[in-house]
């Protein structure tokens, strides 16, 4: 069946199977920043924003996204570049497999929570696993980005 998605602000019509997940649909149309790390919404690597809210695309049926706006990191390049500079300052990049999805979630967090506490930030990002950094460098980078009002 054909669905319509507003991907990063652009209306696209995509042919999908009834049981197809959004992660597979997006990779099929060459949006490759969205990646698979597990199959049951527990690692965060496949996160996209649906109507601005973070959602694990590995378990989100593509048909559910019909007519909705889908944002991937390609759609927030300026902010992602800004976030990456803060990550670079803290040496928090490492393998980067989770970084596009983490950047998206951090971006959504900044829009959603005003002056969040450290605990709220951790809670918001808890399902974005990282096996490389030990988290502390990421936390510093994220805090610095959240404090950046530019």
């Amino acid at each position: 069946m054909k669905i319509s998605l507003i991907i990063n602000g652009q209306l696209r019509f995509v042919e999908v199977e009834p049981g197809e997940y959004l992660l597979d649909t997006l990779r099929k149309i060459n949006i490759l920043s969205v990646r698979r790390g597990c199959d049951n919404t527990s690692c965060g690597v496949c996160t996209v924003l649906i109507e601005g809210k973070p959602v694990p695309s590995c378990s989100y049926l593509s048909v559910r996204a019909d007519g909705k706006s889908v944002t991937t990191v390609e759609g927030i390049s300026d902010e992602a570049e800004k976030i990456s500079a803060y990550f670079g300052d803290e040496g928090a990049e490492q393998c980067g497999f989770c970084n596009p999805s983490l950047a998206l979630t951090v971006y959504a967090l900044k829009k959603e929570l005003i002056h969040p506490t450290d605990e709220q930030v951790d809670q918001y990002l808890v399902s974005n696993l990282c096996r490389c950094t030990g988290y502390i460098s990421q936390k510093k980078a994220i805090k610095n980005y959240l404090g950046d009002q530019s």
Partner: protein
């Protein structure tokens, strides 16, 4: 130093965060055949018959492969230097399956769904056999995992497959029995360490295509592209010259991607069908069918005099390698060779044991590589000994541990499955690390513990550790530096960046030596057609081994540049000054800049391509050292532990990029804390892994990690590039012992089995109450 010992952001961090094409599956062709593996539901069985006719009849199925399709060549997937210290005990596909998740058959089809359906249509008739599921009962069990006659060791490793022994080893210095007898105080304890899974967020991923020269091009999420190329050729009979392995960005490895997993299948399918193919492991497959850390039992005895002089260490280790003997001997040996030299003043040491086959998921390389298991046992035992001696555990360590300019006879005796290499500790700031860590954790005001409330106790614990820097006389790294017009360089290296930042630090080394800025060094790594050889990212080798190769190549390039410039400036090379950008004739002050020189060499006069190459093989493996200190809050009623702080003070020589080095240490600490507290691959009594997803296998999240303090000791290792030693693994070693010691300091119970869950802590407390 202008470029090294400085925290530059990694050269690829921005592009990767912005979602650019980077990882293996991003490079798969859209029309790739999907490859999936039918896996064994039995821990041990013989395949009596496979009927794939129904699967083959399904539209879209390209092929179904079984053990009958592959030549019967025993090999090891371990991905180590050749000949490997791992036994050749595996066939690409075999008529026996040896663990739940072992490969039975392989399907290639045009879509994921068709693949899945085809897998369900394959009829397999198994003769189910009795498995060996308790590694302590494996030796001389009547159930033999590897009776097949073709398998063999490459050199003596104590391989006795008919006894279920993959490897065995014995070494001793002095008379341990006598030293223990003569000691005033002796302690004896067995420690158990569990299977841990790497859980790199990128699952094992490979894709293949035939290029227009009819060669096999493989993109692989691997730590060892050159080993992959060799092993594919050895097992599939494809000429080495017909294979190109490209390692794009890898999404974490930690040892799990040192070995080959899907490479054989996609290579065979693409080479045979000439169609592109790909495999992406599911998370369940990563858990069930890649690797774990080797579970071990370590029986340890220590003897000391009343004055706190450690006299003897005796250690027997039983290690579980699972169904195949990958890294069996070497992981086991590192449990001794990178742990025991910490206490180098003893009269006698014995280290011996066996590595056994069981019907578990194979164990393999994992950051720490035996050292974390050995460290947990030894550093726990040292605190137990101190308790019996009524001695402060830090004082005891300061008295007995390795110091700068000292050595240990163990270095010469124990190597990578063979003899080792003698070396002195030219850099060892362990003394400073302990002293500084003690200050940073506020030891004196907490040790052994402080009561915070009726239930909660605050306590501290510590441990020291060492690792290595590559494998001397075996690991080789190499580098090529090419000058371009406009005066910038390409740095081509075989070294394998898997997220640790080696592309960045190797470019920093080249930039430092060439006195240029980091943006003038364009780095490209790990492509078997385009980059020179490197053994790969393992054994904490890249900074030291590959780094030395880069430094040598950069020195050579500098010589070539000065030689060319001196021709233009009409003077001797000794009269030519170079500051990285401008050459000067020191006699007449005439100058030419690098940009003009490079353009001249490219387009105008004396035309030539300047290329410098070099390789490096270590003559020693200078160990990084560290002291790790933990502060915890423990609830005596529930056994729950909150990690308040972890302090690491590390001697890795010069940290070439301090922030990236800190990332290596802290990533290791948190993986070590995961092993100490939460992570556990649980196998049911029927041999099934019941923790095969992130919901059941708990890795630390950002909620548990509140504070890490990481510092580097001022240290300089003269054999390393700009004074550097490696730093990839050392961080993982101390958390289990430091935590166990903190628990004993809080509650007076000794945790001898990992992970140290609240349930086990409560059990230990109840047992203690019963004894009293």
């Amino acid at each position: 130093m202008k470029t090294v010992n400085k925290s530059f952001p990694s050269v690829d961090g921005k592009g990767i965060m912005m979602g650019r094409v980077a990882f293996t599956d991003d490079y798969a062709l859209q029309n790739s055949l999907i490859v999936k593996i039918l896996r064994s539901p039995h821990p041990y069985a013989k395949i009596k018959n496979i009927d794939a006719s129904k699967a083959l009849a399904l539209a879209g199925v390209e092929c179904v492969l079984t053990h009958k399709d592959f030549p019967r060549i025993p090999f090891t997937r371990a991905g180590q230097g050749y000949p490997e210290p791992s036994p050749h005990d595996k066939f690409i596909l075999d008529e026996f399956v040896r663990y739940i998740g072992d490969e039975v058959a392989v399907v290639a089809a045009t879509s994921n769904d068709i693949c899945e359906e085809a897998l369900s249509l394959i009829d397999v008739e198994y003769e189910v056999m009795d498995p060996v599921l308790n590694f302590e009962e494996a030796i001389d069990s009547s159930h033999i995992l590897h009776p097949e006659p073709e398998i063999h060791e490459m050199f003596p490793i104590g391989f006795e497959p008919l006894r279920n022994i993959a490897a065995s080893y014995h070494m001793h210095i002095g008379d341990v029995e006598l030293s223990l007898k003569e000691s005033d105080v002796v302690i004896q304890q067995s420690f158990y360490t569990q299977a841990q899974q790497h859980t790199a967020l990128e699952p094992h991923t490979v894709n293949a295509q035939m290029d227009y020269q009819d060669r096999l091009v493989l993109y692989s999420s691997t730590q060892t592209p050159f080993h992959v190329r060799r092993i594919l050729s050895q097992t599939l009979g494809i000429p080495l010259s017909k294979i190109r392995v490209i390692k794009p960005r890898v999404g974490g490895g930690f040892g799990g991607k040192q070995a080959l997993h899907g490479e054989m299948f996609v290579s065979y399918i693409t080479y045979k069908t000439k169609k592109p193919s790909k495999i992406v492991f599911t998370r369940k497959e990563v858990f069930e069918s890649s690797y774990t850390r080797h579970p071990m039992r370590l029986d340890i005895k220590l003897g000391a005099d009343k004055d706190g002089t450690l006299k003897a260490i005796d250690c027997y280790v039983l290690s579980d390698t699972g169904a195949y003997g990958e890294h069996a001997l070497t992981v086991f040996m590192v449990a001794g060779s990178k742990v025991l030299p910490l206490y180098n003043k003893v009269d006698s040491v014995r280290f011996h044991g066996h590595v056994v086959y069981t019907n578990h998921t194979p164990a393999g390389a994992f950051r720490g590589y035996g050292a974390i298991q050995g460290n947990y046992a030894l550093e726990s035992a040292v605190d137990m000994l101190c308790r019996k001696l009524h001695m402060d555990p830090i004082e005891f360590r300061q008295k007995n541990m390795m110091k700068e300019n000292e050595t240990s006879p163990i270095f010469a005796i124990m190597g990578e499955g063979t003899e080792g290499t003698a070396m002195n500790m030219e850099s060892c700031k362990l003394d400073y690390c302990v002293k500084r860590g003690k200050e940073l954790i506020n030891w004196d005001s907490i040790y052994p513990h402080k009561n915070v409330s009726r239930e909660k106790i605050r306590s501290v614990g510590m441990a020291i550790a060492m690792q290595g820097s590559g494998i001397p006389y075996i690991d080789m790294g190499s580098a090529i530096i090419k000058l371009n017009d406009d005066g910038f360089y390409n740095l081509l290296i075989g070294a394998t960046d898997i997220g640790q930042g080696s592309d960045t630090i190797l470019a920093q080394i080249a930039a430092e030596e060439l006195m240029t800025s980091l943006d003038k060094v364009i780095v490209y790594s790990s492509d078997t057609d385009l980059t020179p050889f490197d053994t790969g990212a393992y054994a904490s080798s890249t900074t030291f081994i590959s780094g030395n190769a880069v430094l040598k190549a950069a020195k050579k390039m500098k010589g070539l540049l000065i030689e060319e410039a001196s021709k233009v400036l009409k003077c001797n090379v000794t009269e030519t000054d170079f500051d990285g950008f401008t050459f000067k004739n020191t006699v007449n002050d005439e100058i030419i800049n690098l940009r003009d020189l490079s353009n001249r060499l490219t387009y105008n006069e004396d035309q030539k391509q300047l290329v410098a190459d070099s390789s490096y093989v270590g003559h020693k493996s200078p160990p990084p050292f560290m002291a790790g200190f933990i502060e915890i809050l423990i609830d005596r009623e529930t056994g729950e532990i909150e990690i308040e702080n972890y302090v690491s003070v590390v001697d890795c020589g010069t940290p070439l990029n301090p922030k990236l080095a800190q990332g290596q240490v802290e990533g290791g600490i948190v993986q070590g804390l995961g092993m100490a507290l939460y992570e556990n691959v649980i196998i049911s009594s029927k041999g099934k892994n019941i923790t095969s997803d992130f919901l059941n296998y708990k890795v630390p999240t950002r909620m548990e990690i509140k504070k890490l303090v990481t510092e580097f000791a001022e240290s300089y290792e003269s054999s390393g590039p700009f004074g550097a030693k490696s730093v990839g693994e050392i961080g993982i070693d101390t958390p289990p012992a430091a935590l166990a010691n903190a628990i004993e300091n809080a509650l007076g119970v000794r945790m001898t089995e990992l992970p140290m869950t609240p349930e086990k802590i409560i059990r230990a407390l109840k047992a203690k109450e019963k004894r009293q």
